[in-house]
Symmetry: C2
Subunit: 423 residues, 2 copies
């Protein structure tokens, strides 16, 4: 993505002013279609402003936001394929939102028109025609991960927490906590659930910039082998660990989770399952089955859904290639074939909404840096992605599951989960 | 079952002494088959004693228990269909266990012979031929429930806790707690998870002898409508509530959960799902969807499995007709079609093993009363069922899941589960 946007730099202002079709009038049937759309959406408090300056409203008493559609292409794009096209048109500036972008996305979600609904014969057809997410074989996984995570450590440092750089849901036992405190609380929450004790060996699948592995070694006296296929992240993580004097305690390995070797007391994976791909869950379970000792504890932390559904197509295509947030029923493919026993599932949905609000705020504070490093289109795409994610977690479209599990026959279980909350 | 055993009273001692075939010798191929069985079981520390006094051992150094097989029918029964026949032969006294019955069951589970394994073509065949549990339409449900729960309140009072009569898993935050304290702790645990507050309306599906409903009304100031199709239980529960001055707060209704009407702040079901039947989960979800308010909280407490598997056939046939403990993947059929959001899953497997140990101890203390009220066969069947259940929960063959959930869009969620543990 970095390369592409740098090769074809698009000047946002320039582009939106030049489009030839902006000059043509709005046709009668376009007006009719838009009015029908607003009606099907049960008249959200929304104004649609067209390229000729014409404004359309449903029967709503008030209007919270105005959606500017800059040209006919953008109009037809979002009519034909709203999930995919809205993001592109917004990124390119062919759609503009006047007012609160989060409110606009929430309205679109809450008033989702039946035209793109998921029930009925039309919905069935849409689902049949929908492309499946890209496959995640070893090579494709590398490509997909590079797409997102190798945008450059500098970029993520602008808006993630310091010093742990957690690009995953934080934990806010008090919602007023700072992002930094909440990310530490998340790591501590995970460590407590896993009952880490000094000397334990831990394997981590998908370690990001290595923050959790470092935290575990520093604060719980364990040794960690952490796997990641992102070269930039592994380099950063290794340097950080060396600088913190943890070289002997934490080892970062640039390799796929499927190549994990050895036996460990603890398996942990925070924010990787989203990239594993539905059909690889059984294999992931097999990897854990191979590497977990008899009394081992394991935790998977992942974005999920209340029921199986495809990822938003624009995010899947432009932001997270190959990503898929599973429903719990789907996630069970990891555990059931190997007689793993689910001990504890916690849903941290609202914590991710709060995390994303923090990220979005910091991202906006650094928007000049982002535009300078990439371009306006990149800035807008990421703004939309972060804002859309706040909305998805707030409205319950996405969940965040922490699943703690062990082998089926392990009886060394605590009698109460109090140990997670007291110390 | 009450009726049946009373109509055809079998005198245990009488029966075991009279069998004509006890006189015949043990054939060579019977001996060979048993030795092969012991070998396939990887030589458990077990002695088999046959009807002619002959004793067989595998290569194990020691023997923890002796299994007496009193006649050839019993031998061939357990060879052909061990899951089903062992229970019947034990109940009838045609099989006897010298030593610890729990140890015997654990050995049979841990050393499960491949002959009756669930993998490979033979296992597949066995599963194909296995009868599906009886269907649970409204009429069949009533029959199945009468079978088990209308054995008489007197019977259950012998060995359940007082005064709440909970025939479901207790909660032992301290494993040394008494059964009474642990059953109260369980109810309080459920109430806390559900965040009951005075004035809340609660609907309970499958209320047993009404203990939880009374506890909720007494200690949390809520009003409860509790459904149960067992006539004896509903009568008992109603009398108890009236005697406790809770007549206006708790209402017991002799009806099926599918006939629940009204809207409630809370849905709760403790120990009913096991009797609902796999194919009715979606309907159960529909019932909850109908009766739960927008910000409602709901909890299902049920025996479950790490992966889908049929119930032990003897228990399904003789003790709990129509029962099925689901895997979490199967349970999701309740939630996913209605966009319910799983908030918290807790596995209390070891708590059920401990609960059953308490029940078994009290049951044995009252064995004379049980034999008097029923007969020796009934006593032995229930002893086997309770002991087998201790083993199943200890060895991880069965799980106990508490699943807390709410509607997908409800954002009035607590930020931490601390509230369950502090007060």
């Amino acid at each position: 993505m970095t390369t592409k946007t740098k090769e074809v730099p698009l000047n946002f202002e320039h582009r939106t002013r030049r489009s030839a079709s902006e000059a043509r009038p709005v046709y009668g049937f376009e007006r009719w279609l838009l009015k029908r759309l607003l009606k099907t959406m049960r008249d959200p408090p929304l104004t649609i402003s067209l390229w000729n300056g014409e404004q359309l409203r449903g029967c709503a008493q008030r209007s919270d936001v105005t959606l500017h559609i800059r040209n006919p292409q953008a109009l037809w794009g979002i009519l034909a394929n709203p999930d995919l096209y809205f993001g592109d048109a917004y990124s390119d500036g062919n759609i503009e939102v006047e007012g609160d972008l989060l409110r606009m996305i929430e309205l679109a979600t809450l008033h989702k028109p039946q035209l793109v609904g998921e029930t009925g014969p039309l919905g069935l057809l849409i689902r049949l025609l929908a492309p499946t997410p890209r496959t995640n074989n070893l090579k494709a996984s590398r490509h997909n991960i590079h797409h997102h995570y190798d945008l450059g450590n500098d970029f993520y440092q602008l808006w993630l927490d310091h010093p742990y750089m957690q690009y995953t849901c934080a934990y806010f036992p008090d919602p007023a906590m700072s992002l930094e405190a909440a990310q530490v609380a998340k790591m501590e929450h995970v460590c407590r659930k896993l009952q880490l004790k000094p000397g334990d060996t831990v394997v981590e699948a998908g370690c990001g910039w290595g923050g959790l592995a470092r935290y575990m070694a520093e604060h719980h006296g364990v040794t960690v082998r952490a796997y990641n296929i992102s070269q930039e992240q592994v380099r950063y993580a290794t340097e950080k660990a060396q600088a913190s004097g943890l070289a002997g305690k934490v080892e970062y390995i640039e390799d796929d989770y499927r190549n994990v070797t050895g036996e460990y007391d603890v398996f942990v994976s925070v924010g990787m399952l989203e990239h594993v791909g539905r059909k690889n869950y059984r294999d992931l379970g097999g990897v854990i089955d191979h590497c977990l000792k008899d009394n081992g504890r394991a935790l998977i932390h992942s974005i999920g859904r209340n029921a199986p559904r495809l990822m938003n197509r624009w995010i899947e295509k432009r932001i997270f290639p190959g990503a898929y947030p599973p429903a719990l029923s789907e996630m069970m493919d990891i555990f059931e074939p190997y007689d793993f026993s689910i001990l504890d599932v916690e849903n941290l949905r609202l914590h991710y909404a709060r995390t994303l609000e923090h990220w979005l705020q910091r991202f906006e504070e650094h928007r000049m840096d982002v535009t300078e490093a990439f371009d306006e289109r990149f800035l807008r795409a990421w703004r939309l992605y972060l804002t859309g994610s706040v909305s998805a977690f707030k409205l319950g479209d996405l969940q965040l599951f922490q699943v703690l599990f062990s082998r089926g026959g392990d009886n060394s279980l605590p009698w109460s989960r109090k140990y997670i909350y007291y110390q």
